[in-house]
Symmetry: C2
């Protein structure tokens, strides 16, 4: 997974994969079919991990707005400092293969949808508790959050200034809360 994450699909060669998996060609093809199959597998795992973390943060037993804040904080964390340049496998894949590979496109679309749904639900809870500012529709705010979240991963590829991200996130959340 790591090598695809760092280099993308096309830039990752068979030798790269062999070294990363400590497998020989034959074994790798026996186990995963082909490069594309292995990539799909890596992507699925990345997505599953991401959703697991998101679910933990947006746990309904926690305070909803606090969960959203935690989620944003994690993205800020991930897009700061050394690890920032690695970017995000989903975003990179969406841009690289999104419009050319149907299987990939479907996975990305479902992931974004799942993420947006969870954010909408969390914001819905916040709203029903009267914690959301007037005129803030959960679904709309969730979409805006999606853009900010994924946008951070793009911008941070060349600018991993933590305090700027933190400040940006703060004014965004200030606009949501009551």
């Amino acid at each position: 997974m790591g090598v695809f994450w760092s280099s993308g699909y096309h830039a990752t060669s068979l030798p790269d994969l062999l070294e990363a998996t400590n497998l020989s060609r034959g074994s790798l093809y026996a186990a995963f079919g082909d490069k594309h199959g292995l990539f799909l597998r890596a992507l699925d795992r990345y997505i599953a991990d991401s959703l697991t973390r998101l679910d933990a943060e947006l746990d309904p037993r926690r305070d909803a707005l606090e969960g959203v804040r935690a989620c944003l904080a994690r993205y800020v964390e991930r897009t700061s400092g050394a690890g920032a340049k690695r970017g995000c496998l989903v975003v990179a894949t969406a841009m690289e293969l999104g419009s050319h590979d149907a299987e990939v496109e479907q996975r990305i679309r479902r992931f974004f949808k799942a993420m947006e749904t969870r954010l909408t639900a969390a914001l819905g809870r916040a709203k029903s508790e009267g914690r959301l500012a007037d005129g803030i529709e959960p679904a709309t705010a969730a979409r805006l959050l999606m853009c900010v979240l994924e946008g951070m991963r793009v911008v941070s590829k060349t600018n991993s200034d933590r305090s700027a991200s933190e400040a940006a996130v703060r004014i965004l959340l200030d606009g949501f809360g009551k």
Copy 2:
């Protein structure tokens, strides 16, 4: 430019380039040196075009907040409907080559910086006219806008629902204005 835009750097082959330019191999190499050189040229042109449009929208003679609104509207437009899937050459390049190609990285970084600077300036004008909500720092808001703008291009790769983007942009701007 179009072919890199549609497929990215690695997925664009020499034959693709030859067909797109109507040049033969020899001529293409005489004119641009190599594939990488041609790509840099396409990227530079894309960036120049983008900044030109941005400057037009954020023209100091226009109302500053109106300019920002126009800029967002254009991104919404671009990320809606048929053309949405094409994405953005800068974003795709940032994710694909951002951490492996110094020349590319530099261009992307400068572009994002230039864009952010222009947005900051426009918001600064709005603030000095007393049009910005309290607590909204121009530089911070500009960074947030950057994330939203580039994030839209990512999300729209698999979901080009115009009304959702419009609504998201609206609540964002409502949070900024006074």
